[in-house]
Symmetry: C2
């Protein structure tokens, strides 16, 4: 459902950077793309110096990140904060306001999750890159309510090859050949896996992308896009929960355009498709990408509204289900569905597969994976069972709101 | 380490068919390739008829398999058993003897595993394809000793595009353009995951491939290849176990060629490489592919020797470790390493990724995945610990035999 070239990046990896791309092969010229974090010195690496070997091997794709002890007030380059007279460089630029929004969302979601968990606390890793940009990774693991929850923000300054840019947005004059196009990208990305098998997993990701070419560069007009989505992955269906979740998504969409919810609901069902199973990963929500054919301010507000809808869409469901009694069989079924989650993320998710291949910060990329997962040979739920109903809804996406 | 075009197929998927290929994109013309099994009617499918939808969607890549109630004495086409005067069609042909060998290996390995398990029994699925070929999948799940063990054999009659064939084996006259080349492939493939964290996982796969063009077809000479390997993936290192395992592999190799063990040991270390972790999946063994530059009878004997070495290489280790007392921490580390196994198989293993993309029999392909696996955020073993030693050996492959 995405353009063959320059489609969306990650939608479920929490390490997602919001660059638009098609496949790793189209990015082999991204020699200076600082989109990923290299490796960090750890005990396992220190004696063998494999770290430097890996960085060398993939040095053309990444710029190594630097751990920071404190969160900077912004990851924007100084020139983006100053008063260069360039609209995109002002503090009230879209990039500045988007960064502010995603960091506020990270704070509010983490606070809400810690609040509902009661015991677990987020561990934070902050990093920056010499050329600008950076990120904050937060993970709550093995809490009272949540098995694993990752909420990451990142800001990336990179360079994309002109082929990619031109494919995304054909220029008027096909003969004009721009050079590599600098870009700016920022996003928040999260996957939250609860312990209780009746409490659903949620994923959300909102991202903003801008090309950064000097004004009036031939063949490289300034451009921007928004992408994102929020989707629910339960192991068991509580129809009221799924309806509530979709209603909140629809409510956020309807404030902006009546066509958004039906369009982005279908896009979500199409994207989170485990082809080899002929199943969706879960029960969907909304997903959109490459959005720039609306007013930029409107889409910034829309993304903000969607990101702010995560808490009201998800937390009430968790409050309701987190203490539901369950059996080992319920847990085993949840674990099987977690296996499907792993299959989708490792085999299909663009952000994950791209991140792995380009030398991204592995721990950030794979924080989207559940703490544990299960694969049984030829498991078939009994027809009519609760497990079968979930599978049925993953095979045949439903309209949850009439 | 494999040719860009026509490299090896699966080496760790138990659904592996022994076709040589490079990437799915090079196989889009394989309109009649019956290498995979379609879907089987199950309760989850029966009401929605998704089964037929999936078969339709990927009908150009697969020929649907038919479940069989009994094992046929051979999966070879009748013409391969008769006396057509063609060498490859005789009962003592290499293809016939290879099929006999892999079926005997399947029987002996399954018997040895049931014997050591004590409680678990293999479940068998037999299937055939209308155009010839078929397979036997056997899975032992949740036994006393083994968490999950799959041992599969398959025989495939398919057609490969001339581009693929020519890339593998350039013809003398570059201008000759053969049509699609029929091929024959057969293999045994297995992954065995024990429960005890001190008992290692083993994988083996031996395969034989033949092109099947009529004699003297211009640009399409008859050709054959052997491939295979056996490798060990422990969560903890017992040096005596690893040395024993490698010694048996070396013993099998040395009977044929002194260069085989060092060459195939390195090939194994190179192949089972989790690039995004800069780690090998395990502690290696032997791996080879595209072998045809030796006497065909010698390579048939060599493959047989290797396949017959699985039991003496592996079973004594299991006998020694299956009842070792362990803690929850030991089990958690095993589960983390199982997560790495999943990462390798879903992200890198050629057979698995190809099988998933072409509509193969999912349950056979993914039987290689462990019953359960685990992902912790940023887990780092303490330097010098037993866990660290295993990781160190996966990062820095060692010579186990001096």
């Amino acid at each position: 459902m995405l353009p063959a070239i320059l489609s969306s990046p990650s939608s479920s990896s929490t390490s997602t950077f919001p660059l638009r791309y098609s496949s790793p092969s189209s990015l082999t010229n991204l020699s200076s793309l600082p989109l990923t974090i290299g490796c960090r010195r750890t005990s396992k690496k220190s004696t063998h110096n494999n770290c430097s070997i890996r960085v060398q091997a993939s040095s053309r794709m990444i710029e190594k990140e630097t751990p920071e002890t404190e969160r900077p007030h912004t990851f924007l380059r100084e020139s983006d904060e100053g008063s260069s007279g360039d609209e995109s460089s002002k503090p009230n630029s879209v990039r500045a306001r988007f960064e502010k929004m995603i960091r506020e969302v990270q704070d509010s979601v983490c606070a809400a999750l810690e609040d509902v968990d009661g015991g677990g606390k987020f561990k934070e890793d902050v990093w920056s890159r010499p050329g600008g940009g950076g990120g904050i990774s937060r993970v709550l693991q093995d809490g009272d309510v949540f098995e694993k929850a990752g909420v990451n923000v990142s800001v990336v300054y990179g360079v994309m090859p002109p082929e990619a840019y031109r494919a995304a947005r054909p220029v008027d004059n096909g003969n004009t050949k721009p050079g590599p196009i600098p870009f700016f990208a920022a996003g928040v990305s999260s996957v939250i896996h609860p312990k209780n098998p009746f409490a659903p997993t949620v994923h959300f990701n909102y991202r903003y992308f801008e090309t950064d070419a000097p004004k009036d560069t031939p063949g490289a007009p300034r451009q921007w896009w928004f992408g994102g989505g929020t989707d629910l992955t339960p192991a068991y269906i509580f129809e009221e929960d799924v309806k509530h979740f979709h209603s909140v998504q629809k409510g956020a969409c309807d404030k902006f355009d009546a066509s958004f919810y039906p369009r982005f609901k279908k896009w979500c069902d199409d994207y989170f498709y485990i082809k080899h199973r002929d199943e969706r990963r879960g029960l969907g929500g909304i997903f959109f990408d490459d959005l720039n054919d609306y007013d930029q301010e409107m889409l910034l507000s829309f993304s903000t509204e969607c990101a702010n809808s995560v808490i009201p869409a998800y937390i009430p469901i968790i409050e309701k289900r987190k203490d539901t009694p369950f059996t080992n069989e319920h847990k085993a079924w949840q674990q099987l569905r977690r296996g499907r989650y792993v299959e989708f993320n490792l085999v299909y998710d663009r952000g994950t597969t791209f991140g792995l291949k380009t030398g991204g910060r592995i721990e950030s990329i794979l924080v989207s994976l559940p703490l544990s997962a299960r694969w049984e040979y030829d498991h078939q739920p009994v027809e009519g069972s609760e497990e079968w109903k979930l599978l049925d809804a993953c095979i045949n996406p439903k309209e949850w709101i009439c």
